[in-house]
Structures are given as C-alpha cells and as structure tokens.
Amino acid sequence: MRKGFIGPIGDDLPSIIALMLAMGLFFSSVIYVINVYNQKIADMDMLKGSIEIGRAVMNKGVLTRDDLDSNPNANYVAKSYSLSYDVYLESDTNSCSMESLRFSYLVAMNDAGKIGLHTMMLCTWKG
C-alpha cells in the first residue's frame, strides 16, 4: 500500500465535501426561494383581491346597510380569490382581526333616507 493512500474515495474526500457543501447551499437556497415566491404570490393575490372587493362594494356610490351586510358582487369576487371579508362602519363596534388586511374608504351612506358621510373599513383574510 502506498504511503498516505487511504482508499479510492479517501483521496477525493476533500473535494467531495466541498462539492456536497456547494450543492447543499444551492439546493437549499432554491427551496427557500420557491417558498418565498409562493408566499409573495399569495400576498399579492390577497392584496389584489382586497382592492377588487372594495371596488365591488363601492360600486353603487351611495351605500345602504344592506350593501354592507351582504353584497353579491363582492361575495363573488371574494370567492374567486378564496378570500373572506367583512365591511363595517368605523362608528360601529366591529373591528378587524389581527391577521386581516385593512382598507378604509370614505363613503356616503343612506341611513333611513338620510345620507351621511362615514368611514368604511374593509377587512380581508384568507379562507
């Protein structure tokens, strides 16, 4: 046996370790980037869906309580983006949950024949 020879793999061991490290680094960054990419796409979809829900709710110009309670157009948009949403006036006692996105709008509300200005909050969340 030659002096210092530690087998056919032993000689290549240092370079194999370096190769493994390089491949590990590369593939772990690929996996991380795929996860980040999917998360960002989901966040963008949520943001875009929220804006479209807001547009559907605000479409009528002057809103009524019924529009806040149930709005078929907004329901349809929310379903197509797999989102849930809630709309309420700031003067109400409702509040958005911590994980939801929040958007505010200035709206004209017809409350029993009397039109007034209100701040409307739109909360959206996944699911």
Partner: protein, 153 residues
C-alpha cells in the same frame, strides 16, 4: 498534484454555486415589490376617487350641500372665508376625510381655477408635507373649479 486539482475544481464549483444562490436570494428579495407598490397605488387612487364621489353627497352641519357652499366661497369670498367654513360648518366633513384617508393627516384638499390664486390647499396654513410620493384625484365642481384630493406619503 491530481488531488489538489480536484479540490481546486470543487472550490471553484462551490464559488459558482454560492454566486448562483446569492443571485436567487437577491431576485427573491426584490420580486413583487414593484407590483405590491402598484397595487397600493391603485388603492390610493381608488380611495381618492371614491372620497370625491362620496363628497358629492355630503352636507354640512346646516344641511347645505358641501360642494355648493364651497363653490360659492371659492368664487366670491376670500381664503379666510373658506377656512372658516372648513373649520366651522364643514368641520366634521374634513374630520371624516382625514380619519378615513390612508395618508391620515397628510391629506389635503386643493382648489384649482378658483379665484383664490395659485392652487391653494386646505389646511391653508400648513406647509406642504415633504413627501416623495403624492397621489391625487380630482373632480370638477363647476366648469371652472377643480377640487383635488392629495395624499402625501
């Protein structure tokens, strides 16, 4: 010597793989940031447009139409009268605007084409916010007067 060459090749491969991984992480970091900014821009413009539509239906504390009163004061009266009106009978309208605005207190109402000089903005005595991003929406309340809502970030 052969073993040293193999190690050198592996180290070069490691360098290339690290470069590729860094590039991937860099792209992942900046990916979608401009799209999210654009979506936020859309929201701000929609807020401004919807706010101006809602103001079409706004009445002051005396039950007078907000635009009509403002139009009268902008064409005939002085800046002080407009300010007095905005701080008086139309105070709650302004409070509604700032409380609902995504820019909060950094929201202004500007009047273009009015007899008040070069595009005054309410609140009149407040200096224009030093912001790099400004979103504006406008509406004509008469053929000669535009009201512009500005959101400063």
């Amino acid at each position: 010597m052969k073993g040293q060459a193999a190690i050198m090749d592996a180290l070069i491969f490691m360098l290339v793989a690290s470069g590729a991984a860094t590039l991937l992480l860099f792209v992942a970091g900046i990916y979608s940031s401009s799209t999210s900014t654009q979506i936020n821009t859309i929201y701000n413009y929609e807020y401004g447009g919807n706010a101006l539509i809602a103001l079409h239906y706004a009445k002051d504390e005396q039950g007078r139409w907000f635009w009509n009163e403002l139009e009268g004061k902008l064409t005939a009266a002085s800046q002080a009268d407009v300010e007095a009106y905005m701080n008086g009978d139309a105070r709650f309208i302004w409070q509604n605007i700032t409380s609902s605005s995504p820019a909060g207190q950094n929201t202004t109402l500007c009047f273009e084409g009015a007899g008040l000089g070069a595009t005054p903005c309410y609140p009149f005595n407040r200096p224009e916010p030093a912001s790099t991003t400004v979103y504006t929406s406008s509406v004509k309340i008469t053929p000669d007067i535009d009201v512009i809502i500005k959101l400063y970030y």
